[in-house]
Symmetry: D3
Subunit: 276 residues, 6 copies
């Protein structure tokens, strides 16, 4: 990431800031804003200089609107991070994200960077190289909620001009630990770099970009997001021998092997507590 002298933004909000990805950005985006507003349902530790902490539930409309005042850029990582019951997905991801976008509209936010996911298109086969324009094929209720927010953000851009970059994150972890991640792994540094580019690009309109490192194996064609200038520097290939050694030869017919969503595509969904 280029050296930044003067923060280009007044106030960047990061939701879900207590999670692993939020923690990464909290560090790397420091030079980019006069104030970094960090939000999560749980506490965020010591408040550092220039930080503003807001503990709130995104399903709480008033709290979201209050938090959003004065913000010009949003990195929206908050919500349920994996498959859950429909009710949890509904409250955290669907209603919560609606609050973010509606508050963005009313508070004059310019751009939202949204943590979408491979699970929005998890039912494509690994052997299909897809770009960002293919119809969504979610692999879980979690994935359905990701497609909801992608479409909601498209609406907010088309009608109200709120720009969004939806990042379909592959597997953002310290290192790849299975064979699928040889394709989907996104290093923390590359994630930071991608967010920086999404913030700094002069004009983004509404874009969808895939988020993985420069792995030789790859499911995704990011050509359509070339304008962002996302050029990952890390590669899962450095871990290939280790992954080969630690994981068994996969069965090519198993859904978790065939589909881009991995185990999300293979699992049934959560038993709904209200069902009997």
């Amino acid at each position: 990431m280029p050296e930044i002298q003067t923060p280009p933004f007044k106030n960047i909000l990061i939701t879900g800031a207590a999670g692993a990805l939020g923690t990464v950005l909290r560090e790397s985006l420091r030079p980019y804003a006069e104030t970094l507003t960090l939000s999560d349902r749980s506490a965020l530790g010591e408040t550092r200089e220039n930080e503003r902490h807001v503990v709130c539930d995104l399903a709480d409309r008033d709290a979201v609107f209050e938090m959003m005042k004065g913000v010009d850029m949003v990195i929206h990582l908050g919500g349920a991070p994996r498959e859950n019951t429909f009710q949890v997905i509904l409250d955290s991801n669907i209603v919560g994200s609606y609050h973010i976008y509606e508050a963005a509209r009313q508070c004059g936010v310019k751009r939202v960077i949204y943590a979408s996911s491979v699970h929005a298109i998890g039912f494509y086969e690994c052997t299909q190289t897809i770009d960002a324009n293919v119809p969504q094929r979610p692999d879980s209720l979690y994935g359905v909620s990701k497609t909801f927010v992608e479409n909601l953000s498209r609406y907010y851009f088309d009608k109200f001009g709120i720009e969004s970059v939806c990042v379909r994150i592959g597997s953002c972890f310290p290192k790849p630990v299975d064979r699928r991640m040889l394709a989907t792994w996104l290093s923390y540094d590359d994630f930071s770099h991608l967010c920086e580019r999404a913030l700094m690009a002069p004009s983004v309109g509404h874009m969808v970009v895939y988020g993985n490192s420069a792995n030789s194996a790859n499911f995704w064609d990011n050509t359509q997001a070339a304008y962002l200038g996302f050029r990952p520097q890390d590669s899962a290939d450095a871990y290939r021998a280790e992954v080969y050694a630690n994981t068994p030869t996969p069965d090519p017919r198993h859904p978790a092997v065939r589909f881009q969503g991995g185990s999300f595509a293979a699992d049934g969904h959560f038993e709904d507590p209200k069902t009997n």
Copy 2:
């Protein structure tokens, strides 16, 4: 529609059966099922032979599950029929449709025909001919909810094998009354015909089909749904002179003229009652 001797289905459920479209299908689909289950929030009039009436709110999970028992095919028309507050859209269209699909899965329903809408793609320009694979571009929260159900149904097919035909209905009214409807009008007979084909097609997987009559003006390329055999017989052209005479020359720059969604694309959204 071909003459049918023996009903091919045991029990077809029509949700939203009290509306205009439900009333049309209630008549035309009679020969296709031993039992026609009609559901709405309001009463459905006299129960005719072979009909079963269920008054319920789709947001009521238990009622939906109870209603779905024994059903093999669903025509899902129910929900808020136009733009509304987010809360109404959420309850009626998002939560309600989730109940339909989850009940379909648990009750062994084979196929759902879903009344999606032009408003799922209403922010494409009229001059863009689009097919069913273009990214969704909803023009309203209503339209966002339509994209939600399209994607939810894709998930239920990919993971659980519940087939769906999502019909993006243009303007299903007795006759076209404005210049945009010269392209989007779907006659009641053509709508019935389309539903018949969606029911009877041997295998549909998950399909999206545009629903308009054989109007000479057209936004949509239905090539990808050719297998259904939908071949509309009516045309808005019969009303063209009348529409010219009754409507003023449009301003080509106005959003309601430029975009496929018409006035939905031009209007702001409902003031949310909770906002102050």
Copy 3:
């Protein structure tokens, strides 16, 4: 064409009005304008009610600007109608059309319908079905000038909002007289119908549409112009037996047979008078 009571336009200008196509439109578009301004380099015969005649050369900038005052719609047929020396093509088609567009901009014209030609794409093979988005492949200097105006009109729309419909006319004659015209023939009635639709469509932006009748043989996919509602009623097939009988079996390797532009693709270009 639908019956029109009140002329929807104030003043429609037809350039090249003395030619065969101009003569056709002079009749069929009468009900569409309070004043029909007819322009050509040669005289236009008796001035009928509501007509205004302007004899001028399109290369004469001041004359064009004068003629354009008060015009709201233009049908631009004027210019050299076939291959000629570069100087003639330059003056009549390139400079002349620039005058039309620049006058349109300065005089507040809303929309131009431009008589482009198959010769803008005449070097595609007959066996290639092409749509309106393929790169242009002119077959002559005449064809190059047609691509020039298509691109010029695109510029005037993108920058100044002047709408255009560029009609790539096949072979607009009383009837098809060779085997290539079994695909390219456009009847006079169908041409009138196409111009009517291009005038009356609520919003056209910048469109390119192919102009041929409902011939069973066809080079062109007009899907992208479906919004116009152009639905030709005539067909070259009525003349197929006659054409078979009157024309020899073609040599499939001859450029005039292989290429969509026919003999234009086979001929060399005019000797430039200045060359020695």
Copy 4:
């Protein structure tokens, strides 16, 4: 088919002339050639005026070369008409067709119309509308042999200029008798019409065209062969009620229902006699 006065061709060879399709063309193509050479392994009945009969096996190279002398157009219907052992497919369809093309090259034949088949692409799903450029996906060894000849004919055009029209015939029978044929049925008259157009088109290069009637249900997009002018007049829809009545409701998951090739896609292949 247009009325023909003078035969446009000298000598049209029809291979497989004793079969159902050959019998149809033997009648309909009479006016198109001075001599109609009919070939099959079995006898062809009484020799009518202008007919020349050749009984031979296409696997017999010398016989094929002898038969081809003086021929200017070939309709190649011969070979095994359905799945068989590899040895039969190899001899009849692969080696036999090589003989046809190599003889065509050496004897100066101008054009071959080849009876390819839906089984060249039988592993596409019925819900996928495909055009002629999709990768082949044969559903049987029979289908593999059809792709072989399509590619062989491409080679003979690219290198030697022998033109070919490969017709992927759906189901060419007196009438449709199952639900799949509601999409794939090709009437005898439409087949004749298609062959006439393939013969008479001025220049065909190498084309692939799907052969089915104007059925409302359809798997295929023939846009790329629009130049031929194939416009079927019959429709399986006339038999729809009859087919519904006579056939059971299909299981959408069965391969014979899901795939375009029908039962060919569902069956295993012939036990090879040499294996034990």
Copy 5:
């Protein structure tokens, strides 16, 4: 650029040779021709060994024809380098380039490398990644003239076999100085390399290639020109921090920010001197 021992060409003509780009090529292409013919309207300084200087106006047909004798390759950089009045664009870019191509045809030139421009497609949005086959969308009269020459050169190849490589140059300057140039910058070395490849490629037919360095941000997909082997070595990223520091945060809605053509897309056109 690979080390060259023997000049592969007899006489390379560079038009516009006195400009910045001409000066670059005058140096880098020295080893590639026995004679380097340099042409411009202004003087070209001292004549070095193997150089031939021609001062002429491209609008002067006879001068162009005289200059072209004996030339086998042309690098056509000459003409108005930015927006100007229509008359200047017409004379310098349209008429001048016609002279180049017509002289090339009559003098037996084999290949022309033409300096087209981003302004031929300047009305695409920066967020749209485009390839070389998208319809042209010029952003200025200058850009219209660039599309004219691209189409003219297509014609000269299709009809007369004169090969052309049209290079849509982004921003060829010593270094990138604004945020748009982070995507469009083409270093002088990369420009030389691209011209070398265009000269040396065994067969180019008619190609369009985008010219920018290996910048991480990019509007263009050069896949279709992969055969040339253009692989830029420089990158605007080296100047990213500097550009961030020296330029204000852009307004994403401003045309000069939204569109690939930058300020060309935002500016109106030159007042035509003849207008009053």
Copy 6:
């Protein structure tokens, strides 16, 4: 290639193992199998540890079936390596490959890596960048046989689940020796790497991948095979100056220069011995 501790496969069969490519893989794939079965018509030299040698003709069905027992992965390089008479191509490439696939099915082989060739698509022009989904265009009978096996393998996957990776090898030699090879060259190391990836990829279904090194000049877009993770390390560019120096300036109109197949596209085919 990553360091491998435990052989992931039991028994890898390499056909055509005595040839140049077989010799390369014999070395590089050693760590990947407990047993390496090497097959060819000629002797394979000294049997090294873990090797099993089988001398047989692939046209000998019983020998192939016997050899295939216990094999889990096949690298199928065997058959005629260049143009030959139809009989040789038929026996070695068509019948031989059928034996390989049918034996694979009956013996439970999981995956076949097939040495297809540029000659399967050799009639595309060098200036056309093609991906793996374009229709095949073989340049020779040899090329036709390559398309046969590609389609046969597609059938065996679609019907029987035998996975295949078809590698369209460009020019696999020690170094590039002509200008075409600047695009098509595949180094031995890159070929080994590609085979390793094809073996180790978790699930390949049926894929086609182009095989060339990281040459700057390139005909092929491998995007669709991105999942394999083939990332070549060598480049023909290292030999560019040498190739320029040793080869004459090519004639861009000659078929061997214009077409991807090089001289295969230019040559006629072998005189068939049976012809007189």
